[in-house]
């Protein structure tokens, strides 16, 4: 009787496993299918439309993208977005390490500071962008991708980097710092030689957040970017004019670009974990 019951449980557990597994796989297909369709359709023949049939396989739409001039030239926006993302990544890393280190010092009002950072994540981009645009208008500041857009985007990427660093420091063993300090190293040297190498995976994670969130940001940029558009804005403008496989080509390109960035960072993390893992004797 007892064993029969146990067998029944095992059977039911396996059944739940299969049910949930099927659901997961179905969702993964559901999640990836549009992205893959987009990629496939971007290789449509010159007469191919925005859906199937593709009418042949070609690089026609990528060529168009490369040759495009003025109106739908995606090259300058791509350069702008990349530069902006790099700047946001660097700023995010520096500021998030500084502010997470500050949180360790438990300064007065640190809980308010924490909620202030959280607000950056919670406040919707459309409100921050709109509000900032109005503020700039009242202050008579001209909008531009490398000034106002940069300021607004960092307010979005910084909290993610900050939370990453906070999680890293929450698990940080400060006894290693203590050892260095007891042996006479200054606080700055200890931070540079001991703390920084140990928190490096978090630093890379913060940088990745900074880069990819800025690179893909649309609502905040929409209100605060001047006449020179960033990539998501250019894509949206093109979509408003006409849906062509060219949009699929640019979409596929930026998606591959993002995937490469993620891949580079994960492999860097992996290599680092290996190099800092305790060696077997």
């Amino acid at each position: 009787m007892k064993f029969a019951l146990l067998g029944d449980w095992k059977f039911r557990s396996a059944l739940t496993g299969w049910g949930l597994g099927t659901l997961t796989v179905v969702f993964l297909v559901y999640q990836w299918m549009p992205i893959l369709t987009l990629g496939l359709l971007s290789f449509a023949g010159p007469t191919g439309g925005t859906t199937f049939p593709m009418n042949g396989v070609s690089l026609h739409w990528y060529e168009e993208l490369w040759k495009a001039t003025v109106m739908n030239d995606f090259k300058p926006p791509l350069v702008r977005s990349s530069l902006l993302a790099a700047a946001c990544a660097i700023t995010t890393v520096v500021l998030s390490v500084m502010s997470a280190q500050a949180m360790r010092g438990k300064f007065r009002g640190n809980d308010w500071f924490f909620y202030l950072m959280l607000l950056g994540i919670m406040a919707p981009g459309i409100l921050v962008g709109f509000g900032f645009a109005i503020l700039m208008r009242l202050l008579d500041v001209e909008l531009a991708w490398n000034t106002t857009t940069f300021l607004v985007q960092v307010s979005w990427t910084l909290p993610f980097g900050f939370l990453t660093m906070l999680a890293v420091f929450n698990r940080f063993d400060s006894r290693v710092e203590e050892a260095a300090l007891t042996l006479g190293a200054s606080r700055l040297t200890t931070f540079r030689r001991i703390t920084l190498p140990l928190i490096m995976p978090g630093v890379i994670g913060a940088g990745l957040f900074g880069f990819s969130l800025s690179y893909d940001e649309y609502p905040r940029s929409m209100f605060t970017t001047g006449p020179d558009q960033t990539l998501p804005l250019a894509v949206m403008a093109q979509l408003d004019r006409q849906l062509t496989p060219e949009i699929y080509a640019i979409g596929t390109t930026t998606t591959v670009f993002s995937l490469i960035a993620v891949l580079l960072c994960t492999s860097a993390l992996w290599a680092m974990r290996r190099s800092t893992a305790p060696r077997k004797a």
Binding site: R12, L95, F107, S155, L181, P219, T254, T255
Partner: protein, 289 residues
Amino acid sequence: MSTIRVRSAASYWLAVPAAVWMLGVVVVPIALLAWVSLWGGRTFSPASPLTVDNYTKFFANKTYLQLALSTVGHTALLMVITGVLGYCIAYFLTMKVKSPAWRLILFLAFIVPFWTSTLIRGIAWVPFLGVNGVLNQALMFTGATRTPIEAFLYSVFGISMAQVSLYTMMAAGPVIYMLNAVAPQLREAAMTLKAPPLVVFWRIVFPLTLPGVVIGQVLVFLNVMADFATVATVGGNKHAMLSNLVLLFYEGSQHRAASVVAVLLMICMLIGVVAAMKVVDIRRLGADR
């Protein structure tokens, strides 16, 4: 002892640049919106007299009120769908997949799209849902329908489909994090004491992962409420949510009306977040329990 002294001046100064940045770019503009939404008069300037006319105008319009209600309803629906779906996926990935390699592969397949552009992922649904789209072609091929269904693209149905694919990750991510922290001994102890699996789940596992569920729901709530981009791309110009109204008014240079909607949106979100904070203490996440 650590590299930073507790309550030192240094710790204070290290936080100042980030605090100033966030105040100037997030807090001041939103406070400004609240102020602008009260401006009366004919000219758009800080000298305007303060009035609640802009709000009464908004609330007097039935269409806008309906839009606000439908936005909240749509968001609630998406929270339920992504919540259930996300929990199932999170449970499967953490509890049911035994092989570490498979777990990593499935996990990456699940979260990697999060690092690509939401805008592009929204646009990717367009060729999928259209009259000649992949979905209709598949349905006609299998004989499920003879004529293509037009209701997929530019409809709330299409918007929901796209948003489920965009935001389930957000509902599942925090749950995965919490499930990983549930000690296996707890479940074993309950099993040894002959609790049936469903009771173990409901009385032990679920309460322990509740903070993750709540945070995931907050993320989905905030994102769907403010997601005008997917509504614009997949919904065309035929559908609008509260956040699209901000854009609409802004493009029509009706800055005061846009501010009113923005303030209402912000109030909705604050209510949601404060309610969630009552359930969980976000600050303790990541700390050793």
